[in-house]
């Protein structure tokens, strides 16, 4: 069986690493570091998201209010129609009563 010395001298030599070292050091100059613990989105993106939200929220609120008003408007119109009809009937009954009174007065 091989001993360590035999094995050590029986493999191809490892190439020199000077160029590799220079390459790694130079490459690191071009690579930005990532700050520890930054798991949330970067601040700029968050601000943009907040900006969008600040526009979206009032617009959504306005739409909801508009829908509510429109919905309640229909109900008002129906009520108005009902009340108009009722008042018209009342008016008509009053006119009839008055006419009756006038007839009785004439007699």
């Amino acid at each position: 069986m091989f001993n360590n010395d035999e094995l050590d001298h029986s493999r191809a030599p490892v190439p020199d690493t000077n160029k590799l070292q220079a390459s790694i050091i130079a490459a690191a100059e071009c690579v930005p570091q990532q700050v520890a613990g930054r798991t949330s989105p970067p601040p700029r993106a968050r601000r943009r998201w907040l900006h969008r939200f600040s526009f979206a929220a009032p617009i959504t609120a306005c739409c909801v209010i508009a829908l509510l008003i429109a919905g309640s408007g229909i109900e008002f119109a129906e009520d108005k129609n009902v009340s108009f009809t009722q008042s018209e009937e009342q008016d008509w009954q009053e006119i009839m009563l008055l006419e009756d009174e006038w007839l009785l007065a004439d007699l």
Binding site: F2, N4, A12, P15, Q21, A28, V31, Q33, A36
Partner: protein, 204 residues
């Protein structure tokens, strides 16, 4: 002489965390040789080994907080990073430039002829080819153990920590690796001698 040469790995890592490029350069200069040697032995390819080491160092530069100094020494942790990166590289189907076994077996009888064996350099090349081929045939765990302890001269305790096994298990891996390597080389030698004898008979 660099101002950082006296600093420990931990101190350098603290400087690196604050974006100190000179400290990073010192760390690279200090350790590249041994990490590259391991990657080169594992992948048996210079280009792939260089890629693995460069990427590992650049990742450390980008995120030095990945190394937790309270859990392992820098070299222990980084050896593990390099080994994992080598396995990933191998899985991705990187090139293997060393002679394939078939090619090796075809070349072996030529290398074993008396004229070539007389040449010391040729003998060394033949022996290197035998060992490289034998190591490539080993199971990954045995190969990693052999590369770390025998070729990178990492102490057994540290090597066991790097590979995540007990010292006894590491010793067992080494014994089996050496036995398998010896068997592999003896088989190749016998095969080559038989081929050489057959050639001589046919010439007569």
């Amino acid at each position: 002489m660099s101002a950082y040469q006296e600093k420990s790995d931990l101190q350098l890592a603290e400087f690196i965390a604050s974006g100190n490029h000179a400290a990073f350069a010192e760390l690279v200069t200090r350790h590249t040789d041994k990490f590259f040697a391991l990657a080169f032995r594992t992948l048996q390819h210079q280009g792939d080994a260089e890629d693995v080491v460069q990427n590992a160092f650049l990742k450390f530069w980008q995120r030095p907080q990945l190394w937790q100094a309270d859990k392992a020494k820098f070299t222990t942790w980084f050896y593990r990073v390099i080994i994992n990166a080598c396995h990933d590289s191998r899985r991705r189907g990187s090139r293997e430039t060393s002679a394939e076994p078939e090619v090796f077996e075809r070349v072996l009888p030529i290398c074993l002829s008396e004229e070539t064996l007389a040449d010391e350099k040729q003998t060394r090349v033949w022996r290197q080819s035998c060992v490289e081929s034998g190591i490539r045939a080993l199971p990954i765990s045995q190969r990693d153990a052999l590369n770390l302890v025998v070729y990178n001269e990492v102490p057994q305790r540290q090597a066991a920590e790097i590979l995540g096994v007990s010292v006894k298990a590491l010793e067992s891996l080494l014994v089996r690796a050496k036995r398998n390597l010896t068997d592999h080389i003896n088989a190749l030698k016998n095969q080559a001698e038989r081929a050489h004898t057959a050639d001589e008979v046919s010439n007569v």
